[in-house]
Amino acid sequence: MSVSHLTAAVLFALFASIVFGITMREGVREQVRYGLEAFAWFIGGTIAGGWLLYFLNPH
């Protein structure tokens, strides 16, 4: 099996965010909110890191 880097990052973010949401907060509403925030940070951090590496070494 082979997936793209982005797909792998999204799947990683999805699974980790679910666990983070459940374990780090109390109450369904807070858990869902924290999970979504964590997912956004994972994806945002991945994209930002990718662009940072691109500018550090564009070739």
Binding site: M1, V3, H5, A8, A16, V19, I22
Partner: protein, 137 residues
Amino acid sequence: MAHSETVARPAARPSGAMTAAWVTVAGWLVPGLGYFLHKRWVRGSLILLSVVGMFLLGLALHGQIYSFNTGDPLDILGWIGDVCAGLLYFISRIAGVGAGNPSSVMGDYGTKFLIAAGLLNLLAASDARDVFLGKKK
């Protein structure tokens, strides 16, 4: 003096001689079982889905499962992360899967998925223990 602060109480504790240690061990061995023992079906199912999904994805990407070792510190940490996946780790070792493919970038991704699955499982098992002790709802 009386105060209105609500104290979290353990709800729906598992019956019998179940202790916090057993809940933690159960949650470690089978992802989500610590929650299932409290009848937290949705939480347990999501943990089961996430941890097992991440672990299987790691195997599908040809990730490496570390065996016990006393060599490189990173290899030791990798083994600790892997073994945190509980029965998934032991079954994989017995089945002989998880040999890894160091020359593949995706194989490296898979190795990280396997370690992360174990660490997330440990986090969930610890959380299930807190629920059992009434420290968390």
